[in-house]
């Protein structure tokens, strides 16, 4: 994914930004690797038209390597909430897994309509990069249970920093609030920003200088230690895969034992992001 994308795979703006949230290729490819461990091989993709359409050839190659195949692709407009046609297609294509990249309201609508249609997440689970604790709270535990999400952070992650973070968050915003991978990355990126600005003299505080100062910045975030990679300004993160439960939280099934180097152009063979910019190899 290009370095213009920050958070949830959506392009925010075209000026060089600091991508600190999940990177679609890392979480996406981790999701692929886990799904290949199931005795399943038919995948249906339900996608929103974001940059992820360009990821398709790479996803297909990865899937083939693990013995799977894409049986159908389905695109819906951003913010769309009427999924009856899409669910009809689920029924007729009968995939083993549905890989969904719909975001926001659409996630809630899709899951609720999936459940109302009587489909079974044991046989046809949805795997996504965008279903977080927030969306689960809005769709209800019943609609959420049994589906999978890949993200670097889940609220149930056990670490002293996370416990402090969750406690402070609940104290500030209310005991019924949930943290998710978006709020966690907002939290740690503010501290990294602070680290970068502290390195500069007051007269030097300009966006390009801050961008240079943040290279290599590290801290212990709620998910674990994170670092800004100087070569591409993406973040070293800890990918995980979890299954949603009916109580509104996740159960982490697989997690990376070490932090992962960000490779924003992994989906585009022959392109590498370096400090000087994008180069062709």
């Amino acid at each position: 994914m290009s370095s213009l994308i920050a958070l949830n795979g959506r392009t925010i703006d075209t000026r060089p930004t600091l991508p600190l949230g999940t990177n679609a290729n890392r979480t996406g490819f981790k999701a692929m690797n886990v799904s290949s461990k199931w005795p399943h091989n038919r995948l249906l993709l339900a996608l929103s038209p974001t940059n992820l359409k360009r990821l398709m050839p790479e996803l297909e190659k990865l899937l083939e390597k693990h013995g799977g195949q894409v049986v159908a692709e389905e695109y819906v407009p951003l913010g769309h909430s009427e999924f009856s046609s899409v669910i009809n297609k689920f029924r007729s294509a009968q995939p083993n897994v549905i890989f969904s990249t719909v975001v926001g309201d659409s996630v809630v609508a899709l899951h609720r309509q999936y459940r109302a249609a009587g489909l079974d997440p044991e046989k046809m689970p949805m795997a996504s990069l965008t279903t977080s604790e927030n969306e689960i709270a809005a769709m209800g535990g019943e609609a959420a249970a049994g589906h999978f999400t890949s993200a670097p952070y889940f609220m149930v992650h056990k670490s002293p920093e996370n416990e402090k973070f969750v406690a402070a968050y609940k104290k500030r915003w209310g005991a019924d609030k949930v943290t998710h991978f978006v709020s966690e990355s907002c939290y740690f990126q503010t501290f990294l920003f602070k680290q970068a600005v502290e390195k500069l003299a007051v007269s030097d505080i300009t966006p390009p200088n801050i961008r240079d100062a943040v290279k290599g910045a590290e801290m212990i975030a709620p998910q674990g230690k994170v670092r800004i990679e100087p070569a591409n300004l993406h973040t070293w993160l800890w990918p995980k895969i979890a299954e949603a439960k009916s109580d509104g939280q996740f159960e982490i099934l697989v997690q990376s034992s070490e932090w992962r180097k960000p490779l924003p152009y992994a989906a585009y063979p022959g392109q590498v992001c370096t400090e000087k910019g994008l180069t062709q190899t």
Binding site: P49, E74, Y75, V76, P77, G79, H80, S81, E82, S84, S85, V86, N88, K89, R91, S92, G104, D105, V108, A109, R112, Q113, A116, A117, G118, N134, E135, A137, A138, M139, G140
Partner: protein, 289 residues
Amino acid sequence: MDQFVQQIVTGLSIGSILLLVALGLSIIYGSMGIINLAHGEFVMLGAYAAWTFQHYLGLGLLESLVPIFLVVAICGWLIERYVLSFLNNRPLDTILATWGVGIILQQAVRLLVGGELRYVQLPDSLSDSTELLGVQVPVYRIFLFFAALALFALTWLLMNRTMVGMKLRAIIQDRAIAACFGVNARRVYALTFAYGAGLAGLAGALVSPLKSVSPEMGTGYVVDAFMVVVLGGVQSLAGTVFSSFILGELSGGIAFLENDTVAKAMVLLAIVVLIRFRPEGLFTTHVRA
């Protein structure tokens, strides 16, 4: 064959949701000529009312339908009385005013309740899926279909079989002459607007268990509602019904053959073409030239 029937049923479901949302607008736009750009926000208010009743008072969706109607109708009445009644015969100003009201309502909800998505529970009795004509259909969608038709029947009865409805029809034909006959136009307009807003609120509450509840949910609905009303013909309730089901089947069918994105674009194109050749919509009311 199976898929064909499934498609018909899906189209009916989409059409019934369109009808629910467009019915209130049809009344307001059709009878009063007010282009109400805040219609989507009335839908949103209804959904939030459903959430509030459920979250704070523990009322289920079905029990809270009448209070939701009343709450949103009162909001509509207040808006008509204190904003729109000053803008008679000024259609452009009305558009701007309702657009502004819509923005205010959206941001007020965001400030009061927060921007997070909210959860409205599907009534337990309606949460399964069942088999109808050989295809699986969620029971709740069948309920929505009948609810839409019931509300349409109620509206038709109100318009054509009650005193208020007769007064409204008189005002639509000629406001000045109706006033000469002793019809209080201001009061009838206020009640009509309130009724249309209440219908929109009911629509929002009824669709909220299948979709999500957020402050911006209304903007999608207002576009769909206007498409339905314009295609069906202004001032025609029957037109609204037919056009909502035609559009529902069309978008469901194209979405099945292609995908939802193409369906949305093609349906809009089809409406534009039809309006070009038949500007008054499908059903017209005959007026003396």
